[in-house]
């Protein structure tokens, strides 16, 4: 049989799009990772506060209405990490001096516009929560305006936490939805990407809390992490299935990710995806945490959370890069 040939020669010389679109470098995956953790931390700490206040469940409070150490540190880290993430977002702008333009308009159809407003809505409430859970220590400093703010709002911590738990979900899911709206890039064009980034953000946040929680609080976060990892594994499965069973655009893009030999830092996408993300970042920590939960003591307890964090970071890099190196909508 003779081959039917198509040969295309183009004089296009736009360095951002030829030979592949490559517009977002390392800043964006890093922002998505930090944003995901910030959202996850907000979800977990808010729920811990609500569970303790309403149902008396969870690690012991510090006294004076201050929750356990992990919740207090997590509440502070959430806005800090998001701020850091936004800094990377800012650094990626080709014209950072015009960043104000995001905030002089509302573009209802633009996910990036919605996101930039959510991020702004996030800060005051997340900072307030961080202040309220640390009020014992803030009061010692005796800063007039801070004291006043705490006086006004300290009886409403549960309400603040309730709203924050929702905003946390919004931020976590937004990091994936941002990409999934770009239907011109078939790898990203999956409605489950938001879900994937949300659970991944929650598991990374739980892993981070495991790192700095005192020993008696660790098991709580290990359990949260194990559950999130388990759900993430299912969602990753759905993401892959949705891709390979889709039309040529989507299945081609998915195969590019899960079987592609395109390289990232000298290693093929396929190895990154199955070896680093799925095996090292999901399956092994899940087994380790399961064993830990079953009472089998592992000598290096930090291995599981570190692997989870690495997996979460690799996921963002892979998705952002593989989405841009696969050719556009056919």
């Amino acid at each position: 049989m003779t081959e039917t040939a198509t040969e295309i020669i183009s004089t296009k010389i736009n360095p951002n799009v030829i030979p592949h679109l490559h517009i977002w470098e390392w800043h964006i995956p890093l922002y998505l990772f930090l944003g995901g953790i910030a959202g996850g931390l907000l979800v977990i700490t808010s729920i811990m506060i609500i569970l303790k206040r309403k149902f008396g469940i969870g690690p012991k409070d510090e006294g004076d209405g201050c929750p356990c150490l992990a919740v207090r540190i997590g509440s502070i880290l959430s806005p800090v990490l998001l701020g850091l993430g936004m800094l990377f977002l800012f650094l990626d702008l080709a014209h950072p001096l015009y960043v104000w333009a995001f905030y002089t308009t509302i573009q209802p159809t633009s996910p990036m516009s919605a996101g930039s407003w959510i991020l702004i809505a996030f800060f005051p409430l997340a900072v307030l929560q961080a202040m309220l859970v640390n009020k014992k220590f803030l009061r010692e400093r005796n800063i007039g305006i801070v004291n006043k703010l705490i006086d006004w709002t300290e009886n409403h911590l549960t309400l603040v936490a309730l709203i924050n738990s929702q905003i946390g979900v919004g931020i976590g899911i937004y990091t994936g939805i941002l990409l999934s709206f770009f239907y011109a890039r078939p790898l990203w064009s999956s409605s489950i990407l938001g879900m994937l980034f949300l659970v991944s953000g929650i598991s990374s946040a739980a892993a981070l809390m495991m790192l700095f929680a005192p020993n008696e609080e660790k098991p709580v976060y290990s359990k949260i992490d194990a559950n999130a990892l388990w759900i993430e594994l299912v969602v990753v499965g759905l993401f892959v299935l949705g891709g390979i069973t889709g039309p040529a655009n989507n299945s081609g893009a998915m195969m590019h990710l899960i079987a592609g030999d395109y390289q990232m830092a000298g290693m093929s996408y396929m190895l990154w995806f199955w070896g680093i993300f799925v095996a090292l970042g999901l399956v092994i920590p899940l087994v380790l945490e399961f064993l830990e939960g079953a009472g089998v003591h592992i000598r290096f307890p930090l291995i599981a959370p570190v692997l989870v964090l690495v997996g979460g970071l690799v996921l963002r890099f892979l998705i952002v890069f593989a989405g841009q190196t696969y050719h556009t909508f056919m």
Binding site: S10, I13, V17, I23, Y98, A101, F102, T109, S110, F181
Partner: protein, 188 residues
Amino acid sequence: MAKQKNYGMVIDTRVCVGCSACVYACKSENSVPEGYCRDWVVQETNGTYPKLSMENRSERCQHCEKAPCVTYCPTGASHYAEDGTVQVNRSRCTGCKACLAACPYDARFVHPEGYVDKCSLCKHRLDQGLETACVSVCPTKSLNLVDFNEPDQEALALMNGKEVYRQKEHAGTRPSLYWISARNKPGV
């Protein structure tokens, strides 16, 4: 509100010889920086040897009627102009590159000065009643500027009875560029 004008193009690939005059005219008219382009020429060969067919076509931003670059722009910098073209307002563009990711035609680039740039259909010339630089310079009349609200008879006659297509129509972008396929050439 109906737009006053609805500019687009009818591009006759039967007569395009791939000379790239449009590309150079655009570069000098719009001071496109070196290493970038707002329009370009594609040469596509198709078929099974020895029955091969070739099409030359000059490509650019499609000035979509449902443009994803406009939909996803967070600042309103990318917008629809009254004359049916899609424009970038440089004094609102942050260079976030959402529009580059959104465009299925890869028509945009980041100008070294920090804003996003692409074919403007020479809006500054249209406003003065002139044709675009590429159209005015095309030696074979392959490029035709058309106001689809009031298409002239010549343009309609050109498309009449021919195989005409738009690119990636299934993307739902309603592009304003129409291509008369080279398959209309005798002997193909």
